[in-house]
Amino acid sequence: MAASFRVNGRPVRCQDVGDAFLTDLLRDELGLCGTKVACGIGVCGLCTVLIDDVPASACLVPAICAEDQDVWTIEGVAEAVETGVEFSERIPLKVARQVIEAFVSADAVQCGICTPGQGISAIALFAESPFPDDQEIRRHMSGNLCRCTGYQSILRALTIVSHALSVERDA
């Protein structure tokens, strides 16, 4: 059974994916290890990717079910930001850029294992809701666990993004 879909803008056709989940496919077949694996039950958020512009737990998506879908991982998003190429109709590149920059400037990373998932979730948040209040930010990010930061620096990063988007809107 073959599966054909797009990963980071490039068509992917995987022969004999069998029962592999998307995390296996990304990490083992495509060499995209930025998407991490921890809980395996969709709770921790480390495996968060964008599927058709929406955050999803790659560990719970059988690769065959991604048929015809657009999958974006952190590597693809980072590359898009670095090369200045829009990657989605619903998610503006500037949102992705601001999220990545904010994580750097707010030092919202320690061991880094949760960070790609945090970034993808944050990008999805601001694409859907550019000016979320503190409560909305927390509610959206609630499924992305972090043990190192205590979320304080992550909240600072997301406040920076929210502020930057407001400033742009008002300008």
């Binding site: 069998g18 809980c39 952190i74 990545i100 960070t115």
Partner: protein
Amino acid sequence: MRLGSSGAKATSGSAGARVGGYDRITGRSVYAGDVRLTGMCHAVVVRSPHAHARILAIDTTEATGSSGVLAVATGADLTRNLFGRRVRDIPLLANELVRFVGERVAAVVAETRSEAERAAARIRVEYDPMDAVADVRFALADLAPRVHDGPWRYVNAAVSANDHPNLQSKKVWQHGHAVEQALAAAAHVFRSTYRVPSRHQGYLEPHVCLAARGLSGVDIWASNKSPYLLREQVAACLDLDQEEIRVHDVAIGGDFGGKGSPMEVPLCVALAEMVGRPVRMEMRYAEDLMAANPSHPAVVGVALGVDHEGRIVALDVDALLDGGAYAGYKPNSEAQLYNVRLAGACYSIPALRIQSKIAYTNTVPKGHIRAPGGLQVNFAVESILDEAARSLAVDPFEFRARNVLRPGERGALGEEWLEVRTDETLRALKPSYDESACERSLRGPDWAAGRGVSLFCQQTHAVSTEVALEPTNSGELAVLVPFPDQGGGQHTVVRNVVVDEVGIPAELVTVRQADQVTLQRDFGVGASRVTVDASEALAAACAGFLAAVGDGGEPPALEDAQGWRAVVVALQKNASITRFVGRADHADAPATVSFCAQLARVQVDLRTGEVRIDEVVSAVDVANVVDEAAHLGQIEGGVVMGIGHALMEDLSIREGRVAAANLGEYKLPSIEDVPRVTVRRIRGGRGVGARNVKPIGELAHVAVVSAIANAVADAVSVRVRDLPIAAEHIFASLVSSQQADT
């Protein structure tokens, strides 16, 4: 090691973004689980469903015949030495006996993980269950089932044949007057018993390793923070020459004390030898929760003697800790937990005794967690202090302030601390504490507000280390260090020190973990020692570098990166030495301790017992801060970890089995659970070494737990003595005290 004083340089506190930060954010950092080798195959483990049983037979025929299977191994196939960080009592695979639910019984190596799992499910193990001891309170009773037969025979065992057969270790620390007499003579004595459950460290990267054996030796990639020690442990277990083993540098996805154990690495290396191909092993998170090395649960009895003026006259701490089925995941030479001795360290205690017994039980083997042993005794001591204060109608803050260790005083166990800043640290909380007095709950008439304080301290451990600076031919300065960065920001600290010492722009400095041949043996990350050791060694290396490039040892007067590049390139081409080595040695390190005071403001719902934390204010005693952001991150992360320990974390080991075996059951705080965290760093402390530094990694989380428990007591007069603090428990206490009133 030089004392931190006028000779020490102040640091700028930041030299730029976190080293490796961008790569982590963009998913480019390579963790052990991301490494792929040609010909790599996968191993999974079959685990015991019994807490204690004899293995009668293992039938592997079906498994061996399964598709994709390369090898199946049992304890009989892999008779190697027992391994451990200090006490060597852990087998690669169980031999004849299983001692805890989750113990490794057999391993299957196959082309893919799926095939290995399918084959593993076909292995039939016949067990003869035996009586198990799952409750540490019975482990040292006369007729308790024996977990081991003659544990004194293990290499580095901390017990003798005269000890109870289920004892892993015991220790008594005493200072001052005889504690029993002091208690007998005290005006007031308060006694209580507190319980702390087993906690998982909560690192989000489960244990994973990849091992390859070839003609050139053994290559290991592992989620382990002590590469040299791992090498030693593997060599000792498999009778290999350390020199043949290379532990490669990888990013590590969190540690918190749990990534120091060799875990499945020795087995992985043995399997790689068996199949002649690289073998990868990754614990599923459920396996990690159930069978890695969580913290020691404890039952801690404490007696506090107080005189008529509210001064402590005696403190007697009796801690019984559950070490689980094996002692081998503890690194301490006495198989004890090094923070237990600091139980009374924040206070002036004329008669102090701390007893610590660690017992074997038929449960998952316990290991280190951030500040090992710290929470177990701090929860007890800070709770009894609070109970005493309330009982004597003394404000708990004042009670502590009256009794804190003062500058110039020897420590509770007679230590000559370099500096004592307990009072300043505690007092930094006073304004917030006073502000939250008599606070009416903003949530409404059914909520009660409360505030609680607590103190903790952590000793700086300086060991030794060696680092090197290598100029590169592109004009950069590569800093080689022997330790990884497990998220604590160690490599960022290293970069900042070099930038400050040398004056070179940050963008020209790279930091990497060297192999184990280039630099001398290093202890690895942990015990709050990296910043101290590394800063000292770096200062020495930088001095050597400056001597070669500068003007009589002073940094060259260069404006920009280009100028520096030219200098470095020239040095790299011309100098007879290609590397500047610096060493740090702990021989004369002064005894240094850092203090942390925590204030928690909570609200309790009187109708349900639910606890909401409104704010945590942390006061932290610091000296020079090498990287402000990384340092703050350690404090904030610690506070939230403490909230987790206080309110929700419990592996729920029942009848020997970990019940909270997935991340839906073992709750880590989520972003919606965290309150406002306010951090006050009390600067100006005396640290250690050329950079005048003190550690931070293990300082912030412990006292938060008792601060919250104390705040709950303040709010609703319910004293929680068993962690975690559950709404149900508070509710039950409220109901029963209401019923008592009617």
